[in-house]
């Protein structure tokens, strides 16, 4: 079954540094790290100590709030260091990897019951790949989702091409979908670009949504809002296609190996292309920069996490993006005609003249933080039937009733990346929404 979805409002930001369709094996690095901050809302309770030896798939920590959710090691090796921050909060678990990875032997699934499948996923660290709406956090294993949505493509700037990176993962992905479909009474929905000829189209018992239009066409909120909007009390589970490969691989082969094909992209990269590596791996072995003063991002320029030159590939990332830092002043930058920077206005900014130009943007904020002034621009890039500015303001003044009434259950921070990008007042939309969601989760649950 398939359906067409046309996204009209949005914006495709074209950047320099698109990857070529080549995959290289990244040189193996023995430096690995797991960052609990990747799992929003998780309060890590460690089960390992420094100098412990672990195998790939061994439990490192679990979530204090939801003890069934386990987080496992991506490699075998020795726990080198546990970096703690304020109030002994765990920031980073550093692992010195063995040269030859040994895997924890994972028992076969007991049965095809949904409860057995859930236990299996929880125990083996695979549950982390299943997120839920509302709140955009790791799914509550006790909840029963009305539908499962799988993002089959990413429309963010310079994002990895899911069709390309999963082309050899057909078996694994089909295996994962087979099991996931048992977890919901509703259906498994997959979003694909209209022009994609993914093997997923051959599947029978899923609903394929053929999406066309600009970013955020790939964001699942956009699809869910059109297909099966989330009401108060509903839960929907969401996954990303590349993560299904890891789930399927574990089920089929009995070992946990978070292998990823990562797109190394951005204008600061000399040769943008794909690299095969493991989640948690040090990126310096394959990073090739042409500009020293660069921002390295695990993920894309809209939602990614800032990391340093010796940083690690984060749990959910399918890209490493590098763009120039913009830590320089610009003489009369607010007044002069602007050709090299992107803009959605035409206030002496000329990007409207070159719709296909690829931009080399840096990390400068191009102005200072201000209160919201301009109205009507967010709506142009925001496809959900939600008032973006009003919901942001509701989050800022923490009015739970209003947040709920305006549709807070349906959004995730990434939906506000575009409005944040175009915001003239340089407000941090994504973190405003994130704080709003956290507050709602705490107060309403």
């Amino acid at each position: 079954m398939s359906m067409d979805i046309i996204v009209k409002k949005g914006l495709d930001l074209k950047l320099v540094g698109k990857p070529s369709n080549e995959i290289d094996q990244a040189k193996f690095s023995q430096d690995f790290a797991v960052y609990p901050a990747d799992f929003h809302g998780v309060f890590p309770k460690l089960v390992v100590k420094e100098n412990d030896s672990v195998k790939a798939g061994d439990i490192l920590f679990f979530d204090k709030n939801s003890e069934k959710v386990k987080f496992v090691s991506p490699v075998s090796g020795k726990i080198k260091e546990i970096v703690r921050g304020e109030r002994r909060r765990v920031l980073e678990i550093k692992i010195h990897a063995d040269k030859e990875i040994t895997y924890k032997k994972i028992k076969k699934l007991k049965s095809e019951n949904s409860s057995d499948i859930i236990d299996y996923l929880l125990e083996n660290g695979l549950w982390t790949y299943i997120k839920q709406r509302p709140y955009d956090v790791i799914a509550d294993p006790e909840s029963s989702p009305k539908e499962i949505f799988i993002s089959g493509f990413d429309s963010s700037p310079l994002s990895a091409d899911y069709d390309f990176i999963t082309k050899d993962q057909k078996e694994n992905i089909i295996e994962a979908i087979k099991h996931l479909s048992k977890l919901t009474k509703g259906s498994v929905n997959i979003s694909l670009r209209k022009e994609s000829n993914s093997f997923l189209r051959e599947l029978n018992d899923v609903i394929i949504h053929n999406v066309s239009g600009p970013h955020p066409a790939g964001n699942l909120s956009t699809i869910i809002n059109k297909v099966s909007p989330i009401n108060k009390g509903d839960t929907v589970w969401t996954l990303n296609l590349p993560d299904l490969a890891i789930i399927g691989n574990t089920i089929l082969n009995g070992k946990f190996s978070p292998e990823r094909i990562v797109a190394l992209v951005g204008s600061s990269i000399s040769k943008p292309k794909y690299y095969k590596t493991l989640a948690g791996s040090n990126i310096s072995t394959f990073l090739n920069l042409n500009e020293k003063n660069s921002r390295i991002i695990s993920g894309n320029v809209f939602t990614g996490t800032m990391i340093n030159l010796n940083g690690h590939l984060r749990h959910y990332s399918n890209e490493i993006t590098a763009i120039p830092e913009g830590n320089d002043y610009d003489l009369f930058g607010w007044a002069k005609p602007m050709f090299e920077k992107f803009s959605v206005s035409r206030a002496l900014t000329f990007s409207w003249l070159f719709p296909n130009k690829k931009y080399d943007l840096n990390t400068n904020t191009n102005g200072e933080h201000r209160a919201f002034v301009v109205t009507g621009s967010f709506e142009e890039v925001f496809p959900l039937d939600i008032y973006p500015m009003q919901i942001l303001k509701a989050c800022m003044y923490k009015d739970l009733d209003e947040m709920e009434a305006l549709g807070m259950y349906e959004v995730s921070p990434e939906d506000f990346a575009l409005t944040e990008f175009i915001c003239v007042s340089k407000q941090p939309h994504q973190s405003i929404i994130r704080e709003g969601l956290d507050l709602m989760k705490k107060e309403i649950g």
Binding site: L13, L15, P229, N231, D234, R295, F302, T303, G304, M306, I323, G326, Y329, D330, L331, F332, G333, W334, A335, M338, K341, F342, S343, V344, S345, R346, A347, L348, T349, S351, L361, T363, N364, T365, N366, G367, E368, R370, A371, F372, V373, V374, T375, G376, D385, I386, Y387, Q390, A405, L406, G407, A417, E420, F421, I422, C423, V424, K426, P428, Q430
Partner: protein, 404 residues
């Protein structure tokens, strides 16, 4: 050492100090800062609030320059008229002359300077006290204020009302972006109610008319609206004069052509809301049509004091007074206008509608645009509330269907 690095050092030395916002205001005027993104999106669009405000100012500059020449031209025209000489306007013959420029600059530039200096001083003081950056809101307000006052306004009155307008109209609500009333119109309203003799009547609209009143050199300083309000026939000015702006009035409001240019620039640059501009004009036309209909039906006859303004053809209302200027530059202020797209249509329409209504029925002063906009500023959040409620209801209905 370059200016850039020198200023950077000074900025660092000011960091955390009380006067930092004051220095930063000058610094960021010269250089956009070296701030980089930290969380959220790692890249940002080129526009900031300074650029947005600057775009509005650019669209106002032609009106200002025209206003300067027109101040001189109207002065000379009125003297000629008092001497019984009737002159025909000619752009290069008697309008864009050095004499007009001198008279106009002498009267208008001090208004601009006082407006900016006083207003920005208040902004700086508040920024330093409250420890936030100096915000750009006043850049536009400071330009708008001199354009919407009569040319003969004493400077001290302007200064007093700017202080009132910025403090009460804006800063007490929390500064730029938080105000309920349009600051420029708050300033004008304060002037109007505090010093009505300097803001209305038949003298203030032409330079020196007040001084010469009662002397043998007396000249007229009456606007077209004033003449209509007194049921006088207006034959001094042709439609072209009204459209191109060779008429007396507030400094920047007279040239409809240049206002239209400004509007097109604002709409093209996506800074001004075309929805508000268009719906304001539609509202004004509808009200004008209603009045024309009343006259046509004979309900109001020429014995009524409203006859003069009611019988103005509905489309001519757009050419006289400040409705066009108000629609383009005042109603569109995003902070005080309705913020939803549907709301903007309603908000604009009501501004136009009420403007012409007040214009016709106001016994003391034949113009209502600033009052109408201020009134709708107050109601804009209400309009938005009802627009947003429909979205909220849609969501609730969905929930009910699901529960059923």
């Amino acid at each position: 050492m370059s200016i850039k690095s020198k200023l950077h050092e000074i900025k660092e030395s000011f960091k955390g100090k009380k006067m930092a916002p004051a220095f930063n205001a000058f610094h960021t005027f010269l250089f956009t800062p070296n701030d980089v993104t930290s969380s959220g999106t790692h890249v940002k669009v080129a526009d900031d609030l300074k650029r947005t405000m600057n775009t509005v100012i650019m669209s106002l500059v032609p009106c200002l320059i025209f206003g300067i020449f027109n101040a001189g031209y109207q002065h000379n025209l009125a003297i000629d008229a008092a001497n019984g000489i009737s002159t025909q306007v000619s752009l290069f013959g008697n309008f864009l002359t050095f004499d007009n420029l001198m008279i106009g600059s002498m009267k208008v530039l001090p208004l601009v300077i006082v407006s900016y200096v006083v207003g920005l001083t208040v902004e700086f003081i508040f920024a330093v006290i409250k420890g936030h950056e100096v915000e750009e809101g006043y850049l536009v307000t400071g330009m708008l204020v001199p354009l919407i006052v009569p040319v003969d306004l004493p400077l001290w009155m302007l200064a007093v009302s700017v202080v009132f307008g910025v403090v009460i109209g804006k800063e007490v609500f929390g500064g730029t972006g938080m105000n309920i009333l349009n600051p420029a119109l708050t300033i004008r309203a304060f002037l109007f109610f505090a010093y009505p003799t300097w803001m209305s009547g038949d003298k203030v609209w032409v330079y020196d008319a007040v001084n010469r009143a009662g002397t043998p050199e007396a000249i007229s300083g009456e606007t077209i609206l004033g003449m209509h309000a007194q049921n006088l026939t207006v034959d001094m000015y042709s439609l072209q004069d009204m459209f191109f702006g060779f008429i007396p009035g507030s400094i920047g409001e007279t040239s409809k052509l240049l206002i239209i240019f400004g509007a097109l620039f604002l709409i093209f640059s996506k800074i001004g809301s075309w929805r508000i501009i268009l719906s304001t004009l539609i509202g004004a036309l509808v009200m004008g049509l209603i009045f024309n209909g009343v006259i046509e039906a004979g309900i109001i006859t020429d014995s009524s004091k409203f006859y003069g303004l009611m019988s103005v053809p509905f489309w001519e209302h757009l050419l006289i007074g400040s409705i066009l200027f108000g629609a383009v530059f005042m109603a569109t202020d995003p902070v005080t206008a309705a913020q939803t797209n549907k709301g903007k249509w309603i908000y604009g329409f009501l501004i136009g509608f009420i403007s012409i209504m007040i214009r016709v029925f106001n016994p003391a002063y034949p113009e209502g645009v600033f009052l109408a906009i201020l009134l709708m500023n107050v109601f804009a959040p209400t309009i938005d509330h009802f627009v947003i409620q429909s979205n909220v209801k849609m969501r609730l209905n969905r929930l009910k269907i699901k529960a059923a």
